[in-house]
């Protein structure tokens, strides 16, 4: 399986993603934002970080960089595109997924482990994951997902919500929402579920010496689904 990780100026989880993808069997290439062509890939990842310093609006400038036209074309032709954290912010700026990411409710950066419940398994990202709840890690300042009521109805009707913040046992309640996001949304798909944007960082949870191992579950499953 071939993957590509895009490096934008200010990306800082690009190496971590590279390490994770390699660990679970992907042949990964790092792709520079100013390139115009994507290498042949089964998966394209927009990594976390602070592309363009989060200036103007998180993800906004990166969404206009040269490589993104190729990424958009790739997504529109059914290619798998995964955006993590700042990558999610870039995805909403391109319009590949619906909605916006506002500043966290308490106006503070949050770095901690959270639980998320998988809402939909009819897709290549979560199909066959042997668990309903994953423990993942978040580290962001703008992860407060928001969309209009019409948009919300649409993504709910299409089952486009990927994961919701929840308790250890999978209860989706306000008290388990770290950033104020609508309906505890932690990640959403595009209509065809080949594009996934999510705030949590599975690449930081790939080793029991780190924060945990549920990220390993995510990647192992992902590569198996793509094979």
């Amino acid at each position: 399986m071939k993957s590509s990780v895009i490096t934008f100026p200010g990306s800082n989880c690009d190496r971590d993603m590279h390490v994770a993808l390699k660990k679970f069997g992907f042949k990964n290439k790092m792709v520079w934002h100013a390139d115009t062509e994507l290498p042949k890939s089964d998966l394209v990842v927009l990594p976390g970080g602070f592309s363009y310093g989060d200036y103007l609006r998180c993800g906004s400038m990166a969404s206009k960089s040269k490589i993104m036209q190729s990424v958009i074309n790739f997504a529109n032709s059914g290619g798998m595109v995964l955006g993590i954290c700042n990558g999610f912010q870039i995805l909403v700026e391109t319009g590949l997924v619906t909605g916006v990411l506002l500043r966290n409710k308490y106006l503070e950066f949050i770095c901690k482990n959270v639980f998320v419940k998988i809402n939909d398994k009819q897709n290549n990202y979560f199909k066959n994951v042997d668990s309903e709840v994953l423990e993942l890690h978040i580290a962001h300042n703008e992860g407060n997902y928001f969309c209009t009521n019409d948009q919300l109805k649409e993504i709910e009707d299409n089952n486009q919500i990927a994961i919701n913040y929840c308790s250890e046992n999978g209860e989706i309640e306000d008290q388990f929402n770290p950033n104020g996001s609508t309906k505890n949304i932690a990640g959403i798909f595009n209509k065809h579920k080949n594009v996934l944007g999510m705030m949590p960082h599975p690449e930081r949870m790939i080793d029991k010496s780190l924060s945990g191992e549920d990220g390993s579950l995510f990647f192992k499953n992902l590569i198996n689904n793509l094979k």
Binding site: P9, G10, N12, C13, R15, D16, V19, A20, G48, G49, F50, Y52, G53, D54, Y55, E108, F109, I110, C111, K112, H137, A139, N141, H201, E203, R204, I206, D207, S209, L210, S211
Partner: protein, 730 residues
């Protein structure tokens, strides 16, 4: 502008310093030259009051690759890997403008580290605020924490540990000390010593603006009512540009084209160019028209004294300019050849085809003033006798709860959750433990780091306090299973012109030196911050020590949370019952006098090294050093983190329960072991003549004391966590 004595005094120079300048130059300096002298001769850059004493610190050791004098210290962690690290203060700017002050402090120290070719892998900080009740404190905390997070998070470097304290002596002068560790290959370390003639001098990074002019001079003065007017002297940080600068510099460093490199920190272009020239025993010629400027019509004076952030000065091999420029273009950074090295041994500046400065380098560096300031020795205070009737009404659990909710002991999760502590994917011990630990990427090794200070002990008796801080750093590293290697120090004091403050400095430094010599824990880098005072009142002496140690196999790392029911808990080290200057004495008895706990360096070393032996033999399940709040506070924290209880019994000593549980005697650790290993552990401890007490057994959910009183761990946990959250949300 005509330069005279008054202009010099307005620049923070003393009258006799000004006459010395005229004498050295054999003429009156022009305004640009005066600005340069004032920047190089201020306390912050010249160390004029501290140099004499800093010389006495032990700086050498088998593992030391580079001691003080470079951008940062470097230690050997084997296999051709080295760690570059340093701590630095950004106190004055952080009080005036907390967000930018703290942010640029973090940015500055990271630059010091990657200037040497090392990729930053961990940040730490030591921050100190005034009384929680003081009207400024809350906003200062918020600003400082946001600033540290704002910069470090954007850079993608994890903040893995830190220290936060409150004391009314910081009401008008908060302390913000930032520390960074970087990883480098031993044969790829870059230094700031220029070499070779006619080599191009390159400016890279951000453009130069009018921010931060005279920042270093501001940091060399006391505060008064007019301090708010100094806001323009605070630099403004741009972590995004610094991230680009980091990547661009590391990319250029893969090649062998850099001869010398120096970041533009305090006193900007002035100190960076002069330091490179001075170390290389060369001259430097700069055409100031070539310096990329952010604002129009900047004068030579402004260009030389600007402290705009995210800039570097590089001396390059001839002919490598094109290749280097390509890299900086790729990262969208300014790149300009602004001058060359010369044999003149002078710093010569040109602007609009006119020579605007011509100063022999040695007058700025070697001939800078050095003072043997007057200082006063602090006598060891007399011990207090704690009367039985003062403590007999106290219930241990109530006192424990008060201590766990004390601002200096309570959980600082509110702070460190705002710092990205997991980016880079190698953080194996997060903030909240004895030390932060990161793996050396792609290896089995891990590096532990901690930062400590004990202002109260240093204030009560500077010599003992200085020793104690080094020992505490040593213990924190050992508690996570790391072998301590070296330290960096950030020496925060009041005015050196005040005999008492100067005495505190001299004796703390002596204490640090004695402990680091004995423990073979040398000082490899550091920074002095004087004039932390408002009007006549200085802060409590606050040397902060950043310690670094190595764990050979990260799987053997130790954490502090209790692990398993039925395991035994021991106290290593003797408890003498020293209550003076303990948190108990100061907050519960309101007794502020008396000596700090005595430091016995032999016990400290012996206890620590013996614990490392136990860890090497896989006999330790968890460990935690005993510090503020004594044995019971340490044990309670291990219960809280491990979500387990303990049944403890006071050993049959002559001292009473209060003394046993709350004393802050040094050289002690709490350890958890499996029952079946008890004999092995006891043998090793006895063989090494280490005193230990059997304290108790791990149980479920509750803390029992002597079978009678008990408290739920959940209750202790809530008490410990709530203080900070409640305080910040009020």
């Amino acid at each position: 502008m005509i330069v005279n004595e008054q202009v010099a005094v307005d620049h923070g120079l003393k009258k006799d310093e000004y006459s010395k300048i005229c004498e050295l130059l054999k003429r009156t300096p022009n305004i640009t030259e005066l600005g340069i002298f004032s920047a190089m001769w201020n306390e912050h850059c010249s160390y004029k009051s501290s140099r004499l004493h800093l010389k006495k610190l032990p700086t050498k050791g088998k593992k030391v690759i580079q001691g003080p004098g470079e951008n940062a210290g470097v230690i050997d962690i084997e296999d051709n890997d080295a760690i570059v690290f340093k701590i630095e203060s950004h106190n004055h700017p952080s009080f005036i403008e907390p967000y930018q002050g703290a942010a640029t402090g973090v940015g500055g120290i990271m630059r010091d580290v990657f200037t040497m070719g090392a990729r930053p892998i961990a940040n730490l900080n030591s921050i100190h605020f005034g009384s929680p009740q003081h009207k400024k404190t809350k906003n200062l905390i918020r600003g400082v924490v946001h600033g540290i997070g704002g910069y470090g998070n954007c850079m993608g470097v994890p903040t893995i540990a830190g220290q936060t304290s409150f004391d009314s002596s910081y009401n008008g002068n908060i302390l913000v000390n930032a520390m960074t560790l970087g990883l480098v290959k031993k044969d790829k370390i870059f230094y700031s010593k220029a070499a070779g003639l006619n080599k191009p001098v390159i400016y890279v990074g951000s453009k130069t603006g009018r921010d931060g002019i005279h920042g270093a001079s501001m940091a060399s003065a006391s505060f008064d009512e007019k301090i708010e007017e100094k806001k323009p002297t605070v630099q403004v940080g741009d972590p995004f540009t610094e991230k680009l600068l980091l990547e661009a510099c590391l990319e250029l460093m893969v090649e062998d084209s850099i001869i010398a490199i120096q970041d533009m920190g305090a006193a900007g272009l002035t100190s960076s160019s002069i330091e490179m020239a001075s170390k290389g025993n060369l001259g430097i010629e700069i055409n100031l028209n070539k310096v990329p400027c952010r604002e129009a019509k900047m004068t030579p004076y402004e260009i030389m004294l600007s402290e705009s952030q995210e800039r570097m000065l590089i001396v390059l091999e001839n002919g490598k300019e094109g290749q280097a420029k390509k890299i900086f273009d790729k990262w969208n950074l300014d790149f300009a050849v602004i001058g060359k090295t010369t044999k003149s041994k002078k710093i010569e500046l040109y602007f609009d085809e006119e020579k605007v400065a011509d100063i022999p380098v040695n007058t700025l560096v070697e001939n800078s003033p050095m003072y043997d300031r007057k200082w006063k020795k602090t006598k060891l205070p007399k011990k207090n006798r704690i009367k039985k009737e003062d403590t007999k009404h106290l219930k241990i659990i109530d006192v424990l709860k008060k201590i766990l909710a004390n601002p200096n002991v309570c959980s600082k999760e509110w702070i460190w959750q705002q710092y990205d502590h997991t980016v880079m994917g190698d953080t194996i011990q997060k903030p909240g433990g004895d030390a932060g630990v990161v793996r050396v990427h792609g290896t089995d090794k891990a590096v532990a780091a901690a930062v400590d200070s004990s202002a109260v002990y240093c204030w009560a008796h500077p010599l003992t306090g200085g020793k104690q801080v080094v020992c505490e750093s040593f213990r924190n590293l050992i508690s996570v299973g790391a072998k301590p290697i070296a330290i960096t120090n950030c020496l925060n004091f009041g005015s050196p012109e005040n005999e008492e403050n100067m005495g505190e400095f001299v004796e703390c430094v002596q204490g640090i030196g004695e402990a680091s010599e004995y423990l073979k824990f040398p000082v490899v880098s550091g920074n002095v911050s004087f004039y932390n005072q408002t009007k006549e009142k200085g802060i409590k002496p606050t040397p902060a020590i950043g310690g670094v140690g190595l764990i050979r196999d990260y799987k053997n790392m130790i954490t502090m949370e209790f692990k398993e029911f039925d395991n035994l808990v021991l106290v290593i080290g003797k408890t003498e019952g020293h209550i003076d200057q303990s948190l108990f004495a100061r907050t519960i008895l309101d007794e502020k006098n008396g000596p700090p706990p005595e430091v016995n360096l032999f016990n400290e070393k012996n206890n620590g090294e013996t614990l490392l032996k136990l860890i090497d033999n896989n006999l330790i399940k968890s460990a935690h050093d005993v510090s503020l709040g004594g044995i019971i506070t340490a044990v309670a924290k291990m219960c809280i983190k491990g979500k387990k209880g303990i049944n403890i019994k006071k050993p049959k000593y002559l001292i009473n329960e209060i003394e046993y549980f709350f004393a802050e005697d040094q050289g002690r650790y709490i350890i958890e072991i499996n029952k079946k290993d008890f004999k092995k552990v006891a043998d090793i401890l006895n063989k090494n003549a280490v005193h230990f007490d059997e304290l108790g057994t791990i149980i479920k959910n509750e803390l029992y004391i002597n079978d009678k009183t008990k408290v739920a761990i959940d209750e202790l946990s809530t008490t410990n966590k709530n203080w900070f959250n409640n305080y910040m949300s009020k």
